[in-house]
């Protein structure tokens, strides 16, 4: 298991390097210029000077190598310095956003909390809804509940979040006035009222995303349960005189969870990646909103860094999913 993990980690390094280069070139090739938001009244030579000041006039490979160095050395060193008061980074240039001139990692650091709270909760809620639906749908296959569950999942698949999100706003914020439409990122939970406030402002984005997440995961849960319901060991469990509850929720579920857990793990990078549209819609201003904002503003360092972090997360969680599979399923031992 350990060697398997180590081996996969080693393999990930060249993969990620290639991915970083591809991402860098891709983002660089993409149309758009950081100057597009500058008003037309600003004359061309001023624009050119601004581009130079950003370092945007350097050849792409020079910028790539610099970025690599910043990403893999300067930023970790700065982080380390921040924790232990050392001076490894030596004041070297960090990756700066073109749009805000602030270090990209500082921005990401500011945005991770709300993304994790909101999208993470939505994911969690999605999972919590999906699992019982999936389990019961499988247990009562072809029942009315199962049909409704299927319909629910299909709707979850087929309704884009910009649609469901807007609908939810109109119902819950405008008509009913229960929840605020704008997420207050500065709200800190210190007491009960602020906690309630936090719950209120999280309610709508969580609903929007939870629906989409629940749809996918409930399908996986159902089919995995169905795969296992017919297994011989289920019959053994029943032959032991165990109650249906124990048979289904212990024996079948434990086995069915193995593939579902890995699916859930594979979905986790999307939490960090944020949900672009939902974050934008509710003003959550997490990572997803940062990415779309940076893309609109052609803030290349921001897009490149975020995209690469996202790639790292995807590769890592692929690995984690594999390792989880091995941990959950005693039959699998990677050697």
């Amino acid at each position: 298991m350990l060697t398997f993990t180590l081996r996969r980690l080693l393999l990930a390094i060249p993969t990620l390097l290639v991915i970083s280069l591809v991402i860098f070139l891709l983002v660089d090739l993409a149309p758009g210029s950081p100057m597009s938001e500058i008003p037309l009244t600003v004359p061309p030579d001023v624009r050119r000077k601004m581009m130079e000041a950003l370092g945007a006039d350097q050849p792409v490979f020079v910028r790539y190598v610099l970025w690599l160095r910043q990403f893999f050395w300067v930023e970790p060193a700065t982080l380390f310095d921040g924790w232990f008061g050392t001076n490894w980074a030596g004041g070297e240039q960090r990756i700066l956003s073109w749009q805000s001139r602030a270090p990209v990692f500082t921005i990401i650091g500011q945005r991770i909390p709300q993304t994790l709270t909101v999208i993470g909760t939505a994911y969690l809620v999605g999972v919590m809804i999906a699992l019982p639906i999936g389990i019961y749908s499988a247990y009562r296959q072809y029942s009315l509940f199962d049909q409704l569950g299927t319909l629910f999942a299909m709707i979850g698949f087929s309704v884009p979040t910009f649609f469901s999100g807007t609908l939810i706003i109109i119902i819950f914020a405008v008509t009913l006035g229960w929840f605020p439409t704008k997420y207050d990122t500065n709200l800190s939970v210190t007491d009960w009222p602020s906690f309630v406030k936090q719950l209120q402002q999280m309610a709508m984005p969580v609903m929007t995303l939870g629906l989409a997440n629940a749809a996918v995961i409930s399908r996986y849960m159902r089919s995995s349960m169905l795969d296992n319901m017919g297994m011989d060991y289920v019959r053994t469990a029943r032959a032991k005189g165990l109650t249906e509850r124990v048979v289904v929720l212990k024996h079948v579920l434990r086995n069915s969870m193995i593939p579902v857990v890995t699916v859930i793990a594979l979905g986790i990078p999307s939490i960090f990646g944020g949900a672009i549209i939902t974050e934008n819609l509710f003003g959550v201003n997490g990572i997803g909103a940062a990415l779309i904002g940076a893309i609109h503003a052609s803030d290349l360092p921001m897009v490149q860094t975020l995209a690469f972090i996202f790639a790292v997360l995807i590769v890592s969680f692929n690995l984690i999913a594999d390792v989880l599979y091995g941990l959950l399923d005693p039959r699998i031992r990677y050697d």
């Binding site: 993969t15 290639v18 991915i19 591809v22 991402i23 891709l26 983002v27 090739l29 993409a30 149309p31 758009g32 299927t150 319909l151 299909m154 709707i155 698949f157 087929s158 309704v159 884009p160 910009f162 649609f163 807007t166 609908l167 109109i170 405008v174 990415l291 779309i292 893309i295 897009v303 975020l306 995209a307 996202f310 790639a311 995807i314 590769v315 692929n318």
Partner: protein, 303 residues
Amino acid sequence: MIEVITAIPKPESALRAIWHQFRSHKGAVFGLVVLSLLIIAVVIGPYLWHPEKLTVVEALKSKNKGPSLRFPLGTDQLGRDMLQRMIAAGKVSLAVGFVAMMIAIIFGTLIGVLAGYYRRLDGPLMRLTDMFLALPLVPLLLVIMMLFRDRAASILGPELGAFTLIVFAIGITSWMQAARIVRGEVLALKEREYVLAARSIGSASRRIITRHILPNVVSPVMVAATLGIAEAIITESVLSFLGLGFPPDFPTWGRLLFDGLSYMQVYPERVIWPGLAISLTVLSVNYIGDGLRDALDPRIRGR
């Protein structure tokens, strides 16, 4: 003996059997009916429904109207007939959905089969898949559209060019899931005895793949395909929103939905129609996929 030969049922019965099984799936029949209606509507709709061409001023007088006899689905903010626009949009959206899905599925299946069947290709192809999965989708689409839009437009004309490029771009960025699923299936199928049997006969790899592997990955591919259509339709709307899709006067359901969002509160039907159309398409395609998967499997069909 000759009598016996003449008594042999003709292979046509297979098709009938598939149809028979398909018919027994209620959801699938519902899906087929709905999808057929949608397709018929967008194909022959323009011949049946051609409201008189209004001048701008006349049209603007009847803008943002709710459903009525004259405008069955109402009108938009410029007084254009929504039904007519829905029909025109549906043609594009459905075509994009299906063609992009086909590209993604074909490409994904190809990669999946190659990776699963040829051990040597497995590593590189799966790394490639990982890479595509890890790539940021929006910039990738932007680059593709920027690099090739003019060329495509000059060769195929603005509309066909945009169509080709859009379905290609969507296809090329959404094949990974199919590839992974297919690879997993192929790895399992490769160890089946009937594949071994084919090898013992001396069948070439190509034939083994086409005769024994491909038909048996139909089910998972079907599932991926049904999900793919929905994604393609929605991705197209995002592309149009970013200005990389079809020319602005070229309605698609995704675009109508996006446009309607600003009017959602005042004229909710503006989003309901395209939203309904997209959801119905996806829903029916999903159910058809379910039914087809059962119908194409002779083991289930026989039951």
